[in-house]
Each structure stands twice: as structure tokens, then as C-alpha cells.
């Protein structure tokens, strides 16, 4: 179902969350190009250096020095990556937080803990540009 050359960038400051995502993407979903970043230092430089360029970006929200909302704005301003599908991955699923993310322009919000059975379907929806909630 997933495109064969899918390249995913995942930014999260929690080591175990990155490891979960690595296994999920690589071994459960068979994604071959995965880039994991532990923080948002020099984010644009890192983003531009990824080869092949990411075709899907997953962002944690609580990060240093830029949070997920700031990263979203930076990517949306970037001439090459403005149209890349982006999803927020957050452990803050309280209504207020989720609506803050919608307000900031995220079209997809995926709750942590991610659900092994539902996650591939959610990613497909994100790639198709659909709204993903929870």
C-alpha cells in the first residue's frame, strides 16, 4: 500500500519513541528510508541534507529549541518542502492541546501511544492528504 520509495523524517526528543518508530516503520511497515532526529537544532540544514528528501514528516510537539508548531511553520515556508505531508505525533491528547495543533495548521494529529494495528492506516491517510484525528 505504501509507496516503495517513501522517505520518512521523524523528530522526537524521546529515545524510546524514536526506537518504537524505527521498528514500526522499518520492520512492521517496510519503510526503507527513515531519518530520526532527537531535537530541532539546525533543523532546516538537517532537512535539506536528507537523501532521498523526505516525503512524509512526523513531528513530536514538545521539543527543544523549536517545538513542533514552529517546525511546521518552518517547513511550510521552505520552497522545497512546503507541500510535504506532515503529521503531529503527540502524547498530549487533551482537547486543548489537540485543538491548538489544529489551529496551528496540522491536518493530521496522531496520539501517542501509537497503535500498531491502526498506525499504517493513519499514515496512508496522511499521505493521501486526509484529515487524521487521534
Amino acid at each position: 500500500m505504501l509507496p516503495i520509495d517513501l522517505s520518512v523524517l521523524y523528530v522526537d526528543d524521546d529515545d524510546y519513541s524514536r526506537e518504537v518508530m524505527q521498528v514500526m516503520l522499518a520492520e512492521v511497515m517496510g519503510v526503507r528510508h527513515i531519518t530520526l532526529l532527537p531535537d530541532s537544532h539546525n533543523f532546516i540544514a538537517h532537512l535539506e541534507a536528507i537523501n532521498p528528501p523526505p516525503s512524509l514528516i512526523l513531528l513530536d510537539i514538545h521539543m527543544q529549541p523549536y517545538d513542533g508548531l514552529e517546525l511546521l511553520a518552518m517547513i511550510r515556508r521552505h520552497p522545497r518542502f512546503a507541500a510535504v505531508p506532515i503529521a503531529a505525533l503527540t502524547a498530549s491528547v487533551m482537547n486543548e492541546e489537540v485543538h491548538r495543533l489544529w489551529g496551528a495548521g496540522f491536518k493530521a494529529v496522531i496520539a501517542k501511544p501509537i497503535d500498531m494495528e491502526r498506525f499504517p492506516g493513519q499514515i496512508e491517510k496522511v499521505l493521501a492528504g486526509e484529515i487524521v484525528h487521534g
Partner: protein, 460 residues
Amino acid sequence: MNSLRLSIHRIWLSVTTPHPSVLSSDVRRVRLLLSIIVSFILLNLFGIVLVFALIEDSLQMELIFAAPCALATALTLFAYGIARSPRHMPAVYLIMLNAAILTYGAILATPGPDSATKYAPMIVLGTLIGGLFLNVRETGVVAAMLGIGLLVVMLIFPRVVTGIFGFTVEPIESFSIFVTQLIVHGMNLCILFFMDLRDRLEQERIQERTRAIEQEQLALAYKRADEVKSAFLASMSHELRTPLNAVINFTKFVQNGVMGPVNDRQKETLGKVVVNSKHLLSLINDVLDISKIEAGSLKLFVEPNIDLNPIIQTAVETTLPLLADKGVKLELDLPDQLPAIACDQQRVRQILLNIVSNACKFTEEGHIRITAHMTDNDVIISVADTGPGIAAEDHDLIFAPFRQTESGLRRADGTGLGMPISRSLAEAHGGRLWFESTVGQGSTFFVALPLNVVAEPAVV
């Protein structure tokens, strides 16, 4: 010239503009005060004329009284006007002047030696009653000023009066002066009493205002504490869910053989880890929800035109696995056209998920039927099951936080928070949640959501 006009204007304003305390909301008390003062002024005028007429036993002296009485009344009114402003002392001086003028009027009129004695006891009594309401210092000041004034008048006046009015006056009879002075003094004491009352009213008002400010500050402090609590809950939710992401998913990776072969016993054991981790997760969500509800900080994110059909469908699909091993039929009987309503769809889904999953959990045979219909104001969704039913004595437990019925406790996989949360969520929408149940025949839960939601949409 200009400055004179300005100061006259200022005096006029200060006399005619009522103090805010008089204009305030407590109209009843102020009106009472006004009417007492007006009737008192009239009595003042009337009483003086009457007493002098009786003393003189003729109305010849009318003209002589008219001037001081009119002046005294004007001064009384002026004093009243001043008394409406927060300046108390000028009003006291004016009242003393009023008393002095009336007294001098009495001196001018002092006639026969004996008539005044008849009225003296009544007047003394009146003065004492008037004095009851005043504070000691003010009574003393007024009495002293009048006494000195009288002394001066008694020394000077006989000659002056004779000179001015061109008729002879008998030597002033001191007892009559004393009596007249008592009348005037007593009446003015009453005016001071009303001023005192005004001060008390104003003080009360200041106290009320202080209280209101204090309450405002208290509310602000509560709000701040509430914000701190909300922030704490949000961060706790985040901190608890992050490690669960690793616990649940690593366990599932191993359980599903992603990390290498596992035998059936290991798989089953890991399955138990997953079930319990997910239970922990729902517990965290429920505890956070109930904390928010009890703190009154629950916010709805109301969106217009939400179609209820897919929300009900999702709730059914999510809970169907609970019926996997049971012979229970789940029937969905929805009208073709359910109206779109304004609601927080995540919360409505949560309510339905809770009711339907409860029905699935407790029903061992028979069916669960989900229906919906409209009334004039509400959409009512009902979930009827053929489960064990809820005993009458347990009906109150259903909506009490952290409480469960015996059968609920035996199952040990609920928090006892789902129903209280769902009811609060329905009520936050301006709706209701209730049930009907007979032991042995099943239960029906109803959710009513208003067609026009009354909840304020939260600002994001």
C-alpha cells in the same frame, strides 16, 4: 468675575449633585432617608411657627418669624445638600448656623414670661430623643456653640432689636430662650442623625465594594490555581503516555514476532501485558477527565454541523471486538436523516463509546440495539441491552465517580469513571444522560443532545 462664577458653579454642583452613595442601587433605603428628611424640614418649620404662635397667643409676630424661618429652612436644605456630599463638617457648621438663626428669631419674638414653661417638658423630651441618635462629640460641639451664641445674643440683642424694628421688646426672658433653643437644637440633632445614617450607608457601601474587590481577587487566585492545575494535568498526561508508548509497542512487537519467533505461551503472556497497559492508559485518560470536570475546567470544542451517523458507526465498530466470543447481536437502527448538530465530536464519540462498550461488556446473550430519534429540541440516542439490568439500590452508584456496582467490581476492568464522565460531557453540551433498567430484563441508556447546543464554543 470668572473665578467667582466658577466657584459658585462648583458650590451649586456640590449641593445639587448627589453623592454616588445616594445614587447607588440601594434605592429603597435612600428613598426612606429622603422622605424622612423632607418631612422633618416641614415639621421644623411648622413646629417653630406653632410654638411661637402659642407663646405669643397671636399671629402678629408672623412677619418677624417668616424671615428667620425661611432662612433657616433654606439653610437646612443647604445643609442637607452638603450632607449628600462626603464633606461632613461643613454640614455640621451650617446646621449650627441654622440653630443659631432660629434661636435669634426666638429671641426677637420672646414675649410673655410664663407660656413657654407649659411646653418645656415636651421639648426637653424631644431633644433627648433627638440626642439619642447622635454621637457625643457632635452633640457637645453643637450645644457649646449654641450656648456661646446665646450668651452673646442675650448681652447684645435687646438694644439692637429695639433699634431695628422700632418697637419695644420686653427684657428677654432667659427661660423662653432656653426652651426655643432646645426645640431648635433637638430638631437639628435629628438632621445630624440623618447625616450619620448617610455616613453609615456610605460606609456599608465602601465595605461592600471592598468585599467585591476581595472576591474578585479571590476568583482571580482560583483561576490562576486552576490554570496551574490544568497545566499540571496536561503535562502529567504527556509524561504518563510517553513511557506507555514504549511499553505497549515494544510488547506488541515482540508478541507479534517482529523481534523474532515467540511461542504461544509467551504470546499469551505478552497479550496480558498489552491489555493491562491499555487499561492503565484508559485509567489515565479517565482520571484526567474527571479531574477536569471536578475542577470545572472542562472545555468543549464545539463545531457546527456534525453528522452523528459516522460517530455512532465508529463507536459500534470500536466496541464490536468485545462481542467477538459472545452470542450477542448488535443491531443498529438509525433513521435515514439524523440532523447535523453542533457538538464536540470527540466528546460525543467518547460518550457513545462508553455506553456501547458497557452494554457489550455486561450483556452475555440476547442483543444490543442502538436507535436514535428526534424530539422538538433534542436528538435522543438510546442503547438497549438484554444484560443483567441494574438493581434499584444501585441506580445512584452508576453516576457516582469511583463507584461501581457489584457486578462492575467483579469484572475489574473498568474505572467506575466512564458513566460520571459521560453524564458530565452530555450535560456540558446542554444535554442529558439517563437510563431505565429492570433486573433480569436489561438496561436502556439514553443520551439527549440538544439540536441547538447551548455550550459556549471554547476559544482555541
